[in-house]
């Protein structure tokens, strides 16, 4: 039987994930190493400790951010 999908906006782009997916699963899907990614969920910056408490829902807006070189 087919699994239900929901649509998120990740860094401004639409992205399909399974319902109730976790942030780590999303990052896996996107081949992003969790320990290097900062996550903002619906405009709220998340501590890593908060990640697993969050079930992604249809329409959620996420920003996946990295620390890079800068002046």
């Amino acid at each position: 039987m087919s699994q239900v999908k929901i649509a998120l906006f990740v860094n401004g782009k639409a992205q399909q994930v399974p319902k109730d997916a976790l942030i780590v699963e999303l990052l896996e899907e996107l081949k992003l190493s969790p320990k290097m990614i900062l996550v903002e969920h619906n405009n709220r910056a998340l501590l890593r400790s908060e990640w697993d408490g969050i079930k992604l829902e249809h329409g959620d807006r996420l920003e996946l951010i990295r620390v890079v070189a800068g002046g």
Binding site: S33, M36, E63, G70
Partner: protein, 264 residues
């Protein structure tokens, strides 16, 4: 050569010996960046935050933080890319979520041509971030009244520009910078536009507490040596400021006895 023993200084109660901030942008490689930081004695380093690349092309090894030891360096995330106060605050919070210290170099410069800071949004973001307990180091134009308002809003330092970022034009705003330094109760860090060690030394001789250099070091043929050149120039300028520079005179003042050789 003996050290110049310049005075230590502090931001928000944290003491530093080096008066050279180094930005991490534009280095040919993170390894080169790392060894450059190591050999110039800097204690204050800036980084940026950006959206991850979803195309799967991000180099997983390229986490800049792997190359900066937080035990050695005060890492300060900047908010470049923010178009307004709200975006700047969101970026600052992400830095904390990343486990970075609650310090932020506040940069809000919408215009991509000159990257000049927005005074209104910068003051607004400073007020918001101070309320949230951040140590705020705002990048600003050389505006003495704005400097006082940022100080009153609780900024930990002000970071007025000498010239546009990466322009290497030197102390173009000298007149206004002198007023900012004279009036400020918080450290004044000259940021942006310093392209040569002599520029950095001159900024320190004016009484600036520190300078931030990025482009001129990162794109040099040998960033390590250039970083050291800036580091010693900063020390030289600071030492001269602490000792007091001689007065500028219109006429000459002899360095040899003026009695003539034959005629007296």
């Amino acid at each position: 050569m003996m050290s110049l023993h310049t005075q230590p200084w502090s931001i928000a109660g944290k003491t530093f010996q080096s008066r050279l901030f180094v930005g991490t942008g534009k280095f040919a490689s993170p390894e080169l960046m790392k060894s450059t930081l190591a050999c110039c004695g800097t204690e204050l380093v800036t980084v940026a935050l950006r959206r991850a690349d979803l195309s799967g092309l991000d180099d997983p090894s390229a986490d800049i933080l792997n190359f900066i030891d937080p035990q050695v360096f005060q890492i300060i995330p900047n908010t470049s890319g923010a178009m307004n106060a709200e975006e700047a605050v969101r970026l600052a919070r992400l830095g904390v979520a990343a486990g970075l210290p609650k310090w932020v170099k506040l940069e809000i410069h919408p215009d991509p041509r000159y990257l000049l800071p927005d005074p209104i949004e910068t003051l607004k973001a400073t007020e918001m971030l101070v309320k949230e307990g951040f140590i705020v180091l705002p990048y600003m134009n050389a505006d003495p009244v704005l400097a006082k308002r940022l100080e009153e809003a609780g900024a930990a330092t002000v970071m007025p520009l000498a010239a546009p970022i990466g322009s290497n034009r030197g102390l173009e705003t000298r007149g206004q910078l002198e007023i900012i330094i004279e009036q400020s109760k918080i450290p004044v860090i000259i940021d942006a536009g310093l392209g040569a060690p002599s520029h950095a030394a001159a900024a320190m001789e004016m009484g600036a507490d520190a300078v931030l250099i990025n482009t001129a070091i990162a794109i040099a043929s040998d960033p390590r040596r250039m970083a050291r050149a800036f580091a010693v120039a900063v020390e030289a300028g600071r030492a001269a400021y602490e000792l007091g520079l001689p007065q500028i005179r219109r006429q000459a003042s002899a360095t040899s006895p003026l009695t003539g050789f034959l005629a007296d």
